[in-house]
């Protein structure tokens, strides 16, 4: 398959992986033949990079957890040392106009995800005094945010679940903030909107401010496998680009441009199903069975999404 060759070349020539504490993490990958391999470990990022050129996976993951023996197969023998606090913000889960029911990545939906990610980062800072250690584009419809301060590493599943509830404002009740002060009744978040109270004050006026749409399953799992920042997403052929918090200030077009790994040349593509809409800056309206010459990245994307086949 030609895509596998593209992936290999990428890992040989231009991959920039961003992994910390590499020796303590479990790595897992999905091959182009569909197998799933777990419990790999590497001493250094270089060792990992070499492996990627040899084996060239379709998807590459690493554990949010750190282990004493990451390559042990039985969970109990791995020796869990702690786990990053991870957040996944996915356009797929956003109930915004631009994201509802989207199949192909759209800039608009990705913009909404970016806004949500910024909201999360602000909340982490203002309310919890946490600073992201890594931020990455997921290579598809969203963003991954990692926090790895010592305060979070050993949080258990229960605490992480409660934290998600806090971010999603689950169980919020206004009455808790209504207090008697002398003769009058005061609403604390109206009087002193600071930290979470600012979010609540805004959220009471406009519900969109109250909840932060993180994927709860991802955050509460202390053994989660996360896509490795800097690796290729096998569903799109885009790079899960490592970002800085500042990168999220400007529009997603910049991010998408950086995520394009295969920007040279054109390929012939046979459509097995019709496609309509904008795909990676390319306007498409094609019927089933037609053959089109497309920029390499678009052809790779469409094949990985099951729209047809690259003709080589």
């Amino acid at each position: 398959m030609i895509i596998e060759v593209f992936f290999r070349n990428f890992y040989r020539n231009s991959a920039r992986l961003q992994v910390d504490n590499v020796e303590t993490r479990e790595f897992a990958f999905q091959t182009f033949r569909g197998g799933f391999v777990r419990h790999k470990s590497f001493k250094t990022v270089d060792e990992l990079a070499k492996f990627l050129v040899e084996k060239t996976p379709k998807h590459l993951y690493h554990s949010s957890a750190r282990y004493r023996n990451p390559s042990e197969e039985v969970m109990d023998n791995k020796g869990w040392l702690g786990a990053d606090l991870v957040f996944d913000i996915d356009g797929d889960h956003l109930n915004t106009e631009a994201c509802r029911g989207v199949e192909i990545i759209t800039i608009k939906c990705l913009e909404d995800a970016r806004e949500e990610a910024n909201k999360l980062i602000d909340t982490l800072r203002q309310e919890l005094a946490l600073e992201p250690s890594r931020v990455a584009f997921s290579g598809h419809r969203g963003f991954h945010i990692y926090v790895s301060e010592s305060e979070v590493l050993t949080l258990g599943q229960r605490e992480r679940r409660e934290l998600v509830n806090f971010l999603k404002a689950v169980g919020f009740e206004r009455e808790h903030f209504v207090k008697r002060h002398g003769r009058r009744s005061v609403v604390i978040y109206e009087e002193e909107p600071t930290g979470s109270l600012l979010r609540i004050k805004k959220g009471v006026e406009d519900a969109r401010y109250l909840r932060i749409e993180v994927d709860e399953v991802v955050t509460q799992d202390v053994h989660r496998l996360m896509r490795v920042p800097g690796s290729l997403n096998g569903k799109t052929g885009l790079v899960a680009v490592p970002l800085t918090v500042r990168d999220l200030d400007s529009g997603v077009e910049q991010i998408l441009k950086r995520a394009v790994a295969f920007d040279k040349g054109y390929l012939k593509f046979l459509f097995h199903k019709p496609a309509k809409g904008e795909v990676l800056f390319e306007e498409l309206e094609v019927a089933r069975g037609s053959v089109k010459t497309l920029p390499t990245q678009v052809a790779v994307y469409l094949e990985l999404q099951g729209y047809g086949k690259i003709l080589d």
């Binding site: 946490l130 979070v152 229960r158 806090f166 002193e192």
Partner: protein, 338 residues
């Protein structure tokens, strides 16, 4: 106050025997486990303390004025005794009761009332805390005078919708809480501390077992309830709650509510349900009976409560499987039709 030399006294150690500071104080007096085990008065005091706790009676405060060091050593010895019975129910009940007593004293001992002293006790329990005045001096401070790190709050606050962190001011890493809530958090941390001491002192626990006759400590052990006509199998969430209750584990209020509401609908009567709770470390027959009657619609508002939906169960952290039903009550039904 807490730090003054006078405070670091037998009296302080006697009131709060499971704090680090108290342990260090006793060690500095040479009151080690071996010494305590040799001393008949201390052994007897320890036996009495454990017996009283199992009978749900507070220790005698006066002893902290008469013989504070002895009583402090006895309290620690009592914990080892509870652990060496190898009956988790005895250990949990002791830890539960002693931590309630701890909270009771936190409110009543005049010398620990000022915030800086409370902060210090929290610190001893590995909770980073400060007076809210240092982060939000205005109204927030007025209603929520103490602040703890959010991670400690998540760890020790009861798992109960009332305690959801979103319902407290959370400012730059600090959760502001009312004074009584702060005490409740410390109580939980104290209980954890006691269980941790028991867990980490295998050697001491083994020693105690050879010196003290442990058969004198009795706690109603759970007699399994025969399979009751419940019409179909119970869903995993309810089974999990029942198992936790049977094991004598502390179970959050939400779970108690859910299981009681569920069993009422399954046709259990109030007595049967009260029996199920009997093994909880903080069991109180009168209160439990009233609460169950309330849920069953026989007291209070006289409205029978419905069983929380799977969605609610999930937000309470009680859903343990995704069975594909909307309400735990439908569990058996759906399964059969499959």
């Amino acid at each position: 106050m807490c730090t003054s030399r006078r405070e670091l006294s037998g009296e302080f150690a006697c009131y709060f025997p499971f704090l680090e500071k108290s342990a260090r104080f006793l060690a500095s007096l040479g009151l080690t486990l071996d010494v305590a085990l040799e001393d008949k008065t201390i052994v007897n005091a320890a036996v009495a303390r454990l017996q009283r706790a199992l009978a749900r009676q507070f220790p005698k405060v006066k002893r902290c004025l008469d013989k504070p060091e002895e009583e402090a050593a006895a309290a620690r010895l009592a914990l080892y005794m509870a652990a060496s019975t190898k009956n988790v129910y005895i250990l949990r009940k002791f830890a539960d009761f002693e931590s309630k007593y701890f909270r009771f004293l936190l409110r009543r001992i005049p010398s620990v009332q000022n915030p800086s002293c409370l902060v210090e006790i929290a610190y001893d329990l590995s909770i980073v805390a400060k007076p809210t005045a240092e982060i939000a001096p205005g109204l927030i401070n007025l209603f929520y005078p103490m602040a703890v790190r959010w991670s400690a709050y998540l760890k020790y606050a009861p798992q109960d919708p009332h305690w959801a962190m979103i319902n407290r001011p959370v400012v730059r890493g600090w959760v502001a809480v009312a004074r009584n809530e702060f005490e409740r958090i410390l109580e939980e941390a104290y209980r954890h501390r006691m269980l941790k001491i028991a867990e980490e002192s295998e050697l001491a626990v083994g020693k105690v077992a050879t010196v003290v006759d442990l058969s004198q400590f009795k706690a109603e052990r759970y007699t399994p309830i025969e399979k009751r006509s419940s019409g179909g199998s119970n869903p995993p969430c309810m089974t999990a709650i029942m198992n936790a209750l049977k094991a004598g584990e502390g179970v959050p209020h939400t779970a108690r509510f859910a299981i009681a509401a569920y069993l009422v609908k399954r046709g259990w009567d109030v007595d049967q349900i009260v029996d199920l709770f009997r093994t909880a470390p903080d069991f109180n027959e009168k209160i439990t009976r009233y609460q169950v009657q309330h849920i069953a619609g026989q007291a209070g508002g006289r409205k029978e409560y419905s069983v929380p939906s799977c969605e609610t169960m999930a937000t309470w952290g009680l859903c343990v499987a995704r069975c594909g039903v909307k309400n735990p009550l439908q569990y058996g039904v759906v399964k059969k039709s499959n």
